[in-house]
Amino acid sequence: MSYLQRLKDINAKYGMFHAMTDETDAGESRFLFSAKDNLTSLDMETCAGSRILQGYVPAFDAAAIERMKAAGGMLVGKTNMDEFGFGTFSANSAYEIPRNPFDRERSCGGSSGGSACAAAVLEGHVSLGVSTGGSICCPASFCGVYGIAPTYGRVSRYGLIDYGNSLDKIGVLSAKASDLRKYITIMAGRDERDPTSCVQPELKSERRRMKSVAVPKDGIQGLSGDVEAAFNDSIETLRSMGIDVEEVDMPSFRYAIPAYYVIATSEASTNLARYVGMRYGVQEGDLSLKFDDYFSSIRSASFGDEAKRRILLGTFTRMVGYRDRYYAKARQVRQLVIDDYKRILQDHDAVLTPTMPYVAPRFDEIERMSALDSYKTDYLTVPPNLAGNPHLSVPCGYDGNGMPIGMQFVGAHWDEDVLFTMAEEWEKAFDMRRPEVEA
């Protein structure tokens, strides 16, 4: 746990933390962890990447952080992220943009980019991430670490700054596969403060081995050459481990992106209505203004570009005259995706695709992307998030520049056990590289 003394120097190189501890001694702590900055943390500033929350120091810990602390963990930092989770590269932020541990000119992925960076750079570290449309698996893939978003409702979201309530899930990122089981087990369980956590069955730890995976044909389209090659090699490794691999049809796959962006932005636009320059965060407006003008002035000055875009989109798709075409249809597509996973997972233990279609892009490449280009990048991680299925990314290769590539296993609702076991088995078969840490 010696990195505590070097934490500020390491952060100066990689920019993974928005806020961090001043402690240099772990004391009696059993482990060190960090958490995405959209999880409230007692007496440690929490901004969720947004200027509108600048200065917000919560009076309570999120349930996930509370449970990690109760298990002997010490919270060392809050990790940088896209504003409210709105992004794929952690570049949509009012604060620092985390830099990829394998090449600092490239993105860590998003929106839990700072968490993936911390997991990759800090020895023996575990970081909490949050996934709405792929925000754990994407950065895990780009930074070459393991990451899991458990079943929707597995971990209490009390204290989570919501993006999309029907989609948000709290999970874990780590360079060590066995950490996923260990820390999800600590955080899982019912919590009356989040009713969606109260229907969950017990989290099993039977170490059930995966016997067969299904690869949707649409999930292997549009890949870069390096990702395709690494994925094909990984399939051969899985077969050598005794796992059957079969290509399947998943007709709903191609509709998942528009359905997700309609639902997620609809929910986001209502969630963000609470940020009006009162009670917390930025409160520096002119109170002599009428409330409409006051709220608009604070929101216009304090929300970032992507937050405004998603608020506009989500407000529009819920408006009278458009609601049936967009919001109601998106909910139907969501059900089709859920049904497709249920059908396929009757005969297989997991659905497998690469995690991302390409390796971490450079920041200059990201600047040239349109908003729509960026949204489309999520086509592999969005389907399991829409369906609420647990999904886990493992590192599975490296491109010619040494950038990590990941693949994603999607399990049935509440069946995290088979995913954990797969990651633990995979860790023995795969030659994982750690970045050379500069500080």
Partner: protein, 90 residues
């Protein structure tokens, strides 16, 4: 999306846009909604809900309780004599 619609949506969402933003979001949202037309091709589905898993009602006794100290909450708020300050209503 035309500029008038963008302006109307922004007003609803309490966001003021500059001329440059109006122009840019008009183009971006037009592209995004064009892509969303893919939804028109998707089959219909009779059953659908809000949450991806079944969610049960969780209730507790309707008794007041305070788990966070009110003074601690007020510490970071803009207040006047322990009242949260806000803008004019009219």
């Amino acid at each position: 999306m035309d500029r008038e619609t963008v302006e109307r949506v922004a007003r609803t969402a309490h966001i003021r846009l500059t001329e440059e933003e109006l122009e840019r979001y008009s183009g971006d949202l037009g592209d995004i909604l064009g892509y969303f037309e893919l939804l028109d091709e998707a089959p219909n589905c009779d059953s659908y809900g809000i949450d991806p898993i079944g969610v049960a009602d969780v209730t507790r006794d309707d008794e007041p309780r305070m788990t966070i100290d009110a003074d601690r909450l007020l510490r970071d708020m803009n207040t006047y004599e322990r009242y949260v300050r806000g803008p004019r209503l009219s």
